[in-house]
């Protein structure tokens, strides 16, 4: 596949967005609760006139005169590349959205653009303030789906987004869509994750390199995430959560919508439970996603782990019944500390369990082979 390319007009459009970002911010914040700004579907001239009537002509003139060499040199300097909607490599899902970006600026592996077919792509979003349950589910789901060959998209935000990226990276690769330039790690504490995705996956943005994040750019990137993927899965969201915007946008585009159920008395899961009540697909594991996207039974999620001996099966069974620390396991099975430790480490190495920062074990979605 040839390298992705972007024409000068589309590059200038991206530059115009960056110039107008503060003015769009003013309009967007005047109408709070809005989804991605309606302005984005306007032409260059209308956009400038709507966002900044006083200086519209000046901005248009500046951007229109921006030399091509400069624009492309900026991309190169940020180790980015661009792909516009005139290019055959442009992700087809984006053509469905009326307010699709003209160009995508990417950093990382451009070859992944070819895999961004809606039927092979899933977006996982959810709360930034996610509970341990939400984070674990996001990670597991992403790991399973990536292992089953789907491309997992998320937004590099705190909580569910980051866990989805990590889970997908565990198995394969992932795509992050940012609300700032693709060369900026935002939030900054996810710099190492961002770097890993740049190395092994793909980071996308509609804004030129160096553009900072604005409040309106997040719902705007949500529309890209929703349009890119054939299905959007919300892992954990309270009512009025930002992830529900992505879910709305996906539903408007006619994309599949899934939600992971949570405890009915948990406020953190109220949004996802509402989605389910409203008819979203019930997502319990990767197989549910595959069935919803590709049809029941078309593809099996890679779910069966390696063989286990009797001892390990016992330990696994105790974990499934709710024991959480190695201490509880050794007490339940009357093992000594060393035996329990080695059983748990083996199960962790095989991927059956995962261990938190504070030594609490939880069961992953991997199931043991039948005896």
């Amino acid at each position: 596949m040839s390298a992705p390319n972007a024409c000068l007009d589309c590059l200038r459009r991206a530059r115009l967005l960056a110039h107008l970002a503060p003015y769009i911010e003013k309009i967007a914040s005047a109408a709070p609760g809005s989804r991605s700004p309606e302005l984005l579907r306007l032409s260059n001239e209308d956009l400038a006139a709507a966002a900044a009537p006083q200086i519209a002509a000046q901005v248009l003139g500046e951007v229109g005169a921006a030399p091509e060499r400069r624009l492309r040199a900026d991309l190169l300097a940020a180790r980015c590349w661009a792909c516009c909607w005139h290019d055959p490599a442009f992700p087809p899902g984006l053509y469905d959205a009326a307010d699709a970006p003209w160009a995508l600026i990417g950093r990382g592996d451009p070859g992944l653009l070819g895999r961004l077919e809606p039927q092979e792509t899933v977006t996982i979003v959810g709360a930034r303030r996610a509970s341990a349950y939400g984070r674990e589910m996001a990670r597991e789901l992403a790991r399973e789906l990536a292992a089953a060959g789907l491309l997992v998209i998320s937004g590099l935000a705190f909580g569910v987004d980051a866990c989805a990226h990590r889970g997908a990276l565990d198995a394969d690769t992932t795509v992050a869509v940012l609300g700032c330039g693709a060369d900026i790690a935002y939030p900054a504490s996810h710099r190492s994750l961002w770097r890993r995705i740049c190395e092994r996956g793909l980071v996308l943005s509609e804004l030129p390199p160096g553009t900072g994040a604005w409040r309106w750019t997040f719902p705007a990137r949500n529309r890209i995430m929703a349009a890119l993927a054939g299905m959007t899965v919300v892992v954990e969201a309270a009512q009025r959560s930002g992830s529900l915007i992505t879910a709305d946008l996906a539903a408007d585009l006619g994309r599949d919508l899934g939600a992971v159920p949570g405890p009915v008395n948990s406020r953190a899961s109220a949004g996802t439970n509402d989605l389910l009540a409203g008819g979203a697909c019930l997502i319990r594991d990767g197989q549910d996603v595959l069935d919803a996207m590709l049809g029941p039974g078309v593809r099996r999620a890679e779910r069966v782990g390696a063989d286990l001996d009797a001892r390990l099966r016992e330990v696994l069974a105790v974990l499934e019944r709710g024991a959480e620390t190695s201490d509880a396991i050794s007490a339940a099975l009357d093992l000594d500390g060393a035996e329990a430790a080695s059983a748990l480490a083996t199960l962790e190495a095989l991927g059956y369990v995962s261990c938190s920062l504070v030594g609490v074990y939880s069961r992953t979605l991997l199931s043991a082979p039948a005896i």
């Binding site: 994750l193 953190a268 959480e324 620390t325 500390g337 060393a338 504070v358 030594g359």
Partner: protein
């Protein structure tokens, strides 16, 4: 007339010689002390005056100057009282001590009795190094000073005895050296009190066997502090050298009682402690909690509540086994080879996120746990997750006793010493030594797999190998097998991503 006396002042945890020169000559009655005395030394004038008079000596009503040499060294503490008064008595012709090289240290009470002072062990050692024949110490400090071989110790109860001593009318009793109980000490609290908690017991044993630092995470009341306080009882006995060092530090800190040292120290500073309090500070620099825990256990309860700069200050000392405290014009190196044991709640409310009762916001939990993976955590090898023991376990039979566990720990340490050299443990292995550890094929595969899956960082890889080596030493195995790598993987502290 001029007279001198030899004494010592504490500096860090060692003593520096001070020569007291007293000159009594004609002039208006005055008594001045020069030579960088601190407040306690300056106040010696009043104590010396009263003690002299109350012991039946005469306080000369002349111009008295006491000079403390070297003049550049800052002198601290009341230990110089005795030397000043003896020099004064000699200078005023009331006393004639025949013996030349005799050092003296002690604080005077107003009635002339001699009070104990801190750091007598270090002072006696310094006196021997300077070829003093004898040292005069307060009676309470006699047993401590007698630990130093090749030095005559004279115990003084009162200043009046100095005159009897000089006249040869009184033969001072020879003090018996205090006992240095190097065994872990049967008096220490026993591990048998820890009921249930098999994983915690196991983690404690591995940590003790390899000298690994350890972090315990669990709800309040699950037994973290109890477990930590039992750790000294399962550590191997102190070597003679170590026991002396422990005694010297305890003595400088004024904590060496008459009964001597019993086993390894256990220090548990409150989380409000300052960096200087933890690693040492002040001017002149004095030892902190880290030095007091030398050869023992430093327990940091509620690790997440400690100030960040306090914990940062502990990094280099943990690495080096000593801490350098620099103050304007002075620089001291204090020993602090201790085992670090930290404890923390899993979340701010303490119940743990998986408990339905936990009311902590997820972000608050993340922020709390982020502190567990800070810079200090990098130096922690073992993680033990603890839960509330069940009713049966609490009421159940007592666990294995410290003595039984200690035997296994000692055996494992002996194996390490034969491999690494005397006094060294697996936790101190250099990267090169870690690479030399023999791995069985299956073990190498498991470690490589875990590493490849990005579940381990480079540093964590070495940490696992060190731990696995300790587990193998406990099992009495020359090579590291699959089982041992697995156990080390489970015991290791987790890194956040």
């Amino acid at each position: 007339m001029l007279a001198t006396a030899q004494t010592f002042t504490l500096d860090g945890i060692s003593a520096r010689p001070v020569r007291v020169e007293v000159d009594v000559h004609r002039g208006l009655p005055a008594f001045s002390v020069v030579g960088l005395p601190d407040a306690a030394v300056r106040e010696a004038r009043e104590r010396v005056r009263a003690a002299l008079v109350n012991c039946g000596f005469e306080f000369p009503l002349r111009r008295i100057v006491a000079n403390l040499a070297p003049a550049s060294l800052r002198k601290a503490g009341p230990g110089l009282d005795l030397a000043i008064s003896v020099a004064l008595l000699t200078a005023s012709g009331q006393l004639e001590l025949e013996r030349g090289s005799i050092a003296m240290v002690g604080e005077l009470a107003l009635d002339g009795s001699v009070r104990p002072v801190p750091g007598v062990l270090a002072i006696a050692e310094a006196a021997r190094e300077r070829d003093c024949e004898a040292i005069v110490v307060p009676a309470e400090n006699g047993a401590e000073a007698a630990l130093v071989k090749g030095l005559e110790v004279i115990c003084l109860e009162s200043l009046a005895q100095v005159a009897e001593l000089a006249a040869g009318e009184w033969m001072p009793p020879r003090p018996r050296p205090m006992s240095l109980d190097r065994r872990a000490g049967e008096a220490l609290p026993d591990l048998a009190d820890l009921r249930g908690q098999r994983h915690l017991r196991y983690a404690l044993e591995v940590a003790a066997a390899g000298g690994h630092s350890m972090l315990m995470v669990g709800p309040p009341g699950a037994g973290k502090s109890l477990a930590a306080s039992r750790l000294p009882s399962i550590l191997p006995p102190l070597a003679m050298e170590e026991a002396l060092e422990v005694a010297r530090i305890a003595s400088v800190c004024g904590r060496l009682g008459g009964e001597g040292v019993s086993g390894r120290p256990f220090r548990s500073p409150h989380h409000s402690i300052s960096p200087a309090g933890l690693v040492g500070g002040g001017n002149p620099p004095g030892p902190g909690e880290a030095t007091r825990a030398h050869c023992g256990v430093l327990f940091l309860d509620e690790l997440c509540e400690f100030r960040r700069d306090t914990l940062e200050a502990l990094r280099a000392p943990l690495e080096n086994g000593w801490v350098a405290v620099a103050r304007a014009g002075t620089w001291r190196q204090l020993p602090c080879r201790f085992m670090l044991v930290a404890a923390s709640n899993p979340c701010p409310c303490g119940r743990g996120e998986s408990d339905p009762e936990c009311s902590c916001a997820p972000l608050a939990v993340q922020r709390y746990q982020a502190r567990l993976s800070g810079a200090l955590a990098d130096r922690i090898d073992v993680l033990a997750a603890i839960r509330q023991p069940s009713a049966e376990e609490i009421g159940g039979p007592a666990g294995e006793s410290s003595a039984a566990v200690r035997e296994r720990v000692i055996a494992a340490r002996e194996r390490q010493e034969s491999r690494l050299g005397t006094g060294r443990s697996n936790a101190e292995m250099t990267a090169a030594e870690v690479r030399e550890c023999a791995l069985e094929e299956k073990a190498a595969t498991l470690l490589a797999e875990s590493y490849a899956r990005r579940r381990l960082s480079g540093r964590a890889h070495d940490r696992v190998l060190r731990l696995a080596r300790t587990v193998a030493d406990l099992a009495g195995s020359e090579t590291i097998g699959h089982e041992q790598i697995a156990q080390a993987l489970q015991l290791r502290r987790r890194d956040s991503e």
